[in-house]
Symmetry: C2
Subunit: 204 residues, 2 copies
């Protein structure tokens, strides 16, 4: 058994895994992957580790590679991953409808304007659905789960899109409450600092 | 406890759930949803059942509504859903990278050409990844799982896209082997017949 190692890019969806680690007080190694050059912090070509170049990628306790956010989240912190079909439902919804259906094209500088417009057309119905669930709640399920780590991470991206979270008060209030959690605030602050450095590197 | 009920549209991703039922010999009710009018076979407005109008939607044994393919698949046939992080990995990959990232825009008549081109650009790397996994195998994991039901369903859609599965012999051979399973062939043949009827209805 070895320590788990997370390959991440600052503020990418791998932030959810960091939150899951911090919430559980779980010690792990972290290696940054530059989203543009695909080089890791130790100079390794990340494509030799994961040929699709996607983060999060996890080296498990058994030394195997595990990819895909929903899989990694449930693996790294089982306490926050109850065997509840609704956990799968929300992980799947966040991954397909929000992350891939809306944010992936919006955040991709190479995506054509029409692909972004196509994505934006789905925002209202999808966030209405999320807001309905979060009405009067501070977590998606009965208590904190890895779905919250993922939802918080994805909805943070709205700040660099035309989506205004304030239009959905239940979501705005949920985000505030999540950010007030010490583990979440720590994970976010650390990755935000790394993100600023990455932006500086890429600009120079 | 009541019988489970699946809301489906012919050959949509809900076919995976039907395959999971048939593979397990599990008795369930099925109600067709017209993808265009969103009316169910009994004349109900499906949006009053699932406001996003998405299939599969399942009424569980407990009478609750469950949505999202990965969640429903694991719920309906636990025998084909081992507690293996790689099952989650593949369900997530198929749902995000293939279904949402590639096929959703390709199959949507309202999607702009640029959104389709953006999706098509990802086909090579994603199907290379799938083909690498399937090399010399007839199932994604060690034995049949719900991930196979989902992958078979999604890859069937290639026939109405410019994607030529024959370019990836490992995938072509996998599809043939999946289709040779009696439960898969039965589910596919039934939904194909319903699909033809739906096309006739929509054309008239």
């Amino acid at each position: 058994m070895q320590k788990m190692k997370l390959y991440f890019s600052p503020l990418a969806c791998s932030l959810a895994t960091r939150i899951a680690f911090y919430e559980g007080g779980i010690d792990a190694d972290y290696e940054e992957v530059d989203g543009k050059t695909k080089k890791t912090a130790t100079g390794t070509d990340f494509l030799t580790i994961n040929e699709l170049g996607l983060v999060p990628t996890l080296r498990t306790k058994e030394g195997e590679l595990l990819t895909e956010n929903a899989a990694i989240l449930q693996y790294v912190n089982p306490e926050l991953a109850p065997r509840d079909p609704h956990l799968h439902q929300w992980l799947c919804f966040i991954g397909t409808e929000l992350h891939k259906g809306i944010f992936a094209p919006l955040l991709d500088k190479k995506a054509p304007e029409e692909a972004k417009a196509y994505a934006l057309a789905k925002v209202q119905s999808r966030l209405d659905w999320v807001a309905k669930r979060l009405e009067g709640r501070t977590t998606i399920l009965e208590k904190l789960s890895v779905a919250d780590a993922y939802l918080f991470t994805v909805l943070n991206w709205t700040i660099v899109t035309p989506i205004e979270i304030a239009k959905w008060p239940a979501i705005a209030s949920y985000m505030k409450s999540m950010h007030a959690r010490p583990a979440v605030a720590k994970a976010f602050a650390e990755e935000r600092a790394l993100y600023m450095k990455e932006q500086e590197r890429q600009a120079s």
